[in-house]
Amino acid sequence: MSKFTKKKKGLPGISTASLPDIVFMLLFFFMVSTTMRQTDLIIKKPSLPTASEVKKLEHKSLVSTIYIGKSKDSRIEGDKIQVNDKIIDVKDVISFILSERAQRKEEEVKFMTTSIKADKNANVGTILDIKEQLRDINALKVSFSTTRGTDFKSNY
């Protein structure tokens, strides 16, 4: 009879043995989804304008990004253009796109998109100049990077 009386009372403690597994699972998820910032911004971080009719940029590997914003030094006026890790002139946009093209396969070139990340206080003139350069070398797919939202008042 003692067999039955010995039964323990109360809840057993929750086993934490699977905790590392769960954590590792989360860890792998974040490791895979993480994209580390490749470009350090030399210019001031552009505050993007807001728009509602946005399209997601697909195929990240086929996107070349051009940053436009003010210089970090507030004494320097005018819009600065940054690609990769350097500040360039408007007319150097062509060589930037060509070098981006050279890194891709030939058949992928026509799917390449140029993403323009410009500060909302930048001048349209700069943007138009860049667009003109892009037209010169037939890089016609352009995406004006924006944040998704409906608060347009902050744009102007």
Binding site: T16, L19, P20, V23, F24, L26, L27, F30, M31, S33, T34, T35, M36, R37, P49, A51, S52, E53, V54, K55, K56, L57, K60, V63, I68, T113, S115, I116, A118, D119, K120, N121, A122, N123, V124, G125, I127, L128, K131, L134, R135, D136, N138, A139, L140, K141, V142, S143, F144, S145, T146, T147, R148, F152, S154, N155, Y156
Partner: protein, 204 residues
């Protein structure tokens, strides 16, 4: 002599190590997907073809260096552009662009006022956006966004009427399952309301 016995490695700290890594990746992760207004630039050609477009088929939007707006020579606010553009595109006051031998047809899907002084047909309606070099980019994007909104809403309306499904949903469907039938539907909608936006030389 030290004991050579193989004592088991304590795995209790494994969770801590994993947590540490997890927190590191949590912090460094940027999940934001790049999104933006997609535009296709016009191809550059050597000779500029001369096209004659009637004044009434152009919606003239001008932004000056102080971010003030002028639509068809009248002051306007950014929020108004969508409605103005929709009225203009959807007017349907005349015949469409003749396709090959086929003569132009009146717009049978337009819900506009059929005003003879406004655009003839969505396929003829051109939106002209002139900006000054000094205009701020935020303003420019806002206007572009409003124009995009106008086109999307018109396509939406037509899509609901023809296919009982909104344009946005159709685009989503197409992404999940790129089939020919869906593509035909989307192309039809895009063909009915083509985006014709021209950006003339900026005001100096």
């Amino acid at each position: 002599m030290a004991r050579r016995e193989n004592s088991e490695i304590n795995a209790g700290s494994m969770a801590d190590i994993a947590f540490l890594l997890l927190i590191f990746f949590l912090v460094t992760t940027t999940m934001d997907v790049d999104s933006g207004i997609a535009r296709k630039l016009p191809e550059k050609t050597d000779e500029t073809p001369t096209v004659t477009i009637k004044e009434k088929n152009i919606l003239d939007i001008v932004i000056n260096r102080n971010n003030q707006l002028l639509v068809e020579n009248e002051n306007a606010k950014v929020e108004d552009i969508k409605k103005l553009a929709m009225d203009f595109i959807d007017n349907g006051g005349g015949l469409s662009q003749p396709k090959g031998d086929q003569p132009g047809e009146p717009c049978d899907y337009c819900n506009g006022a059929k005003d003879p002084t406004s655009s003839d047909h969505p396929s003829k309606a051109v939106i002209s956006l002139t900006s000054s070099r000094g205009t701020t980019y935020g303003m420019y994007i806002s206007v572009q966004n409003e124009i995009e909104m106008a086109y999307n809403e018109l396509r939406n309306k037509l899509s609901l009427k023809l296919y009982n499904r909104s344009y946005k949903d159709l685009l989503k469907d197409y992404k999940d399952d790129p089939s020919e039938a869906l593509k035909a539907k989307l192309d039809n909608l895009k063909d009915k309301y083509p985006q014709i936006i021209t950006e003339p030389e900026p005001i100096k």
